[in-house]
């Protein structure tokens, strides 16, 4: 583990949020979670910029092929 220093004010903010969110027992757990998830999401967005929507025609065609439509 690499230690990082967090400003007191930031720590207090995260501590307050951690208490209000069910599921985080310690402030450090939420800080680690936010950092790791933020990096993963950013990484994912860089690699996958095109947010795609479902194509209803494609689903319809597939369901028809399968005998559902």
């Amino acid at each position: 583990m690499t230690k990082i220093d967090v400003p007191k004010q930031t720590y207090n903010s995260v501590e307050r949020v951690a208490k209000s969110l069910d599921g985080f027992e310690e402030t450090e757990e939420l800080i680690l979670y936010i950092l790791s998830e933020f990096c993963r999401e950013i990484d994912g967005e860089i690699n996958d910029k095109n947010e795609q929507d479902v194509n209803e025609d494609d689903i319809e065609e597939r369901l028809e092929d399968l005998g559902y439509l």
């Binding site: 069910d22 947010e51 194509n55």
Partner: protein, 542 residues
């Protein structure tokens, strides 16, 4: 430690038993003799979209709200196809819970899977909801890796067997098996490359194959092709041998702490005839059609002209091509929407005179309550009206044989509760074996019995049970277990030593393990809420 959960969509328990009895499925036999086995109870009705949503979330359909492939809007006549965004608006898939605890997962082909979850490990979307030109894998580079490794990776199994000759069947089967062999090879390399603690990998091939050629197992089937030798009834077990080989490979590489769960989301059986519920509702006076000249013309066409044209087109083997061309034509340059012009659809319903209707297949009926824009059934009349409709549905008889068609009609809240009362069906009809309630894409107003789109399917109570096997050093030797689809998510989490999220309806099935303690139940919403906030922030950055 890895918990592998392998889904074999639509495999009926009796087919596996036949394969074990004939000595052709030795790995299933090994799992049966040295592990836990029994059945998986599906949803009501056993619709794959609803079933896999239940499997993924550990919630019963009434608590995740995905009731079918096509979902009616709340207090609306509009309907939309289910996708992963819809499911995730009401529930959280088990791989996202595990991800929030830092565990990598491998997910393949669990509907509704598109768009993919951006979870650590990998996620390959499902073959129903993924657009033909859409990205099917996360991380994105996985897609090109798979495509480079294979000749022509297909997200879904091959459909469209319409032939009636030995040569056409052989050609279809060769191509089908080639695609599935390639898929198994891809899955093996994913397992080797990613080594995730939890893998949820579903093969749709058994379900699709049985939909296409299930009638070959039943010489009494109206579509049983006498031109094709009986030996071809062996094909489904040949397909299961492919998965038996894969499971053999998997069990041989499992460590002493690994666990394997194998399930199917429902069974399968022959379908002789189908019911168009909207046509039945029309003939019974519950649904009215518009009196416009176009709708009347279409009614005349469907009752007197189209069936003959359909027969001729089927003989000429151009029916499916023509049907697809028409269905795909939404106007274009001509300005004429052929699909709407030639089908009797929701656009032709006279809502102000309609009391009940259906929007999708498999027997889910909606009452046109006054919450709808042109609704006519008031809250005061609702119960009396519904009771009468249920009685009439259960009295539905075959017009020629007098045979009863509907096993039972259930009240929506008795099946799904009331969490999503605005979108859940008011009545759920379960047909007797050999019948299916078809999608009401169009209808003949003078006949509600139609040819089924596929010769086999899963509709009746007989097809509500799929397979269940568990295997591994930590699995007890026990038979006759009945797993709910909602039990899989908490059972996998518990086996991995993770707390079970509050709100799951399924339970950790402690009896299938020798020495794994029941996990605690904990609140995950904080993690999910934090993750959604981060996702929202990141998506706004771009």
């Amino acid at each position: 430690m890895t918990v592998y959960t392998i889904g074999l969509d639509g495999v009926p328990p009796n087919l596996i038993q036949d394969g074990i009895d004939s000595g052709r499925l030795p790995t299933f036999q090994k799992m049966k003799e040295n592990g836990a086995n029994g059945f998986t109870k599906s949803t009501v009705p056993p619709v794959s979209m609803m079933a896999w949503s239940t499997f993924a979330t550990g919630k019963e359909p009434g608590n995740h709200g995905v009731f079918n492939f096509l979902m009616k809007g709340e207090d609306s006549y509009e309907s939309t196809f289910a996708d992963s965004s819809l499911l995730k608006s009401t529930a959280t898939p088990v791989w996202e819970y595990l991800d929030s605890r830092g565990l990598q997962t491998g997910v393949m082909n669990i509907m509704p899977g598109f768009p993919a979850s951006k979870t650590s490990g990998f996620h390959i979307t499902d073959h129903i909801t993924t657009p033909s030109d859409g990205d099917f894998a996360f991380p994105p580079q996985l897609q090109s890796e798979i495509e480079e490794k294979t000749n022509s990776f297909q997200l879904g199994p091959l459909t469209g067997f319409t032939g009636d000759s030995e040569a056409s069947l052989e050609s279809y089967v060769d191509q089908f098996f080639k695609i599935e062999h390639e898929r198994v090879d891809v899955v093996k390399s994913l397992i080797e490359d990613y080594n995730c603690p939890a893998m949820f990998l579903v093969f749709s091939a058994p379900d699709v194959f049985l939909h296409e050629i299930g009638h070959l197992l039943d010489p009494q089937h109206p579509e049983y092709p006498k031109e094709i030798p009986e030996a071809y009834s062996d094909l489904p077990i040949q397909l299961l041998e492919l998965f038996d080989d894969f499971l053999e490979w998997l069990t041989e590489r499992m460590s002493e702490t690994d666990i394997l769960l194998v399930l199917s989301d429902h069974g399968h059986g022959p379908i002789y005839e189908a019911v168009n519920l909207n046509a039945w509702l029309y003939q019974s006076g519950y649904l009215s059609l518009d009196s416009s000249p176009l709708t009347q013309l279409k009614q005349f066409g469907y009752n007197h002209i189209y069936p003959k044209a359909e027969t001729i087109m089927k003989k000429l083997k151009v029916y499916h091509q023509v049907k697809r061309t028409l269905a795909r034509d939404s106007g274009g340059d001509s300005g004429i929407d052929l699909a709407k012009f030639l089908t009797i659809s929701q656009d032709d319903i006279d809502w102000k005179e309609t009391q009940a209707f259906t929007v999708a297949g498999d027997g889910q009926i909606y009452i046109n309550t006054t919450e709808h824009p042109n609704g006519i059934i008031s809250p005061a009349d609702y119960e009396e009206f519904r009771s009468q409709l249920i009685k009439d549905i259960e009295d539905m008889k075959h017009t020629k044989t007098g045979e009863s068609i509907i096993d039972e009609a259930l009240k929506g809240e008795d099946v799904y509760g009331s969490e999503y009362s605005g979108t859940r069906p008011d009545i759920v009809c379960i047909p007797n074996p050999k019948y299916r309630i078809t999608f009401p894409q169009t209808m003949q107003s003078d006949s509600f019995l139609v040819s089924p789109q596929k010769p086999a399917g899963h509709s009746s109570k007989e097809e509500q049970y799929g397979i269940f096997y568990a295997y591994g050093d930590q699995v007890d030797t026990i038979s006759d277990i009945t797993m709910s689809l909602a039990d899989y998510a908490p059972t996998v989490m518990g086996a991995l030593g993770m707390p079970i999220p509050k709100g799951m309806d399924g339970r950790f099935r402690t009896e299938i393990f020798t020495d794994i303690a029941s996990p605690s139940v904990e609140e995950y919403q904080g993690r999910i809420k934090a993750k959604k906030a981060i996702q929202s922030l990141v998506s706004n950055i771009n």
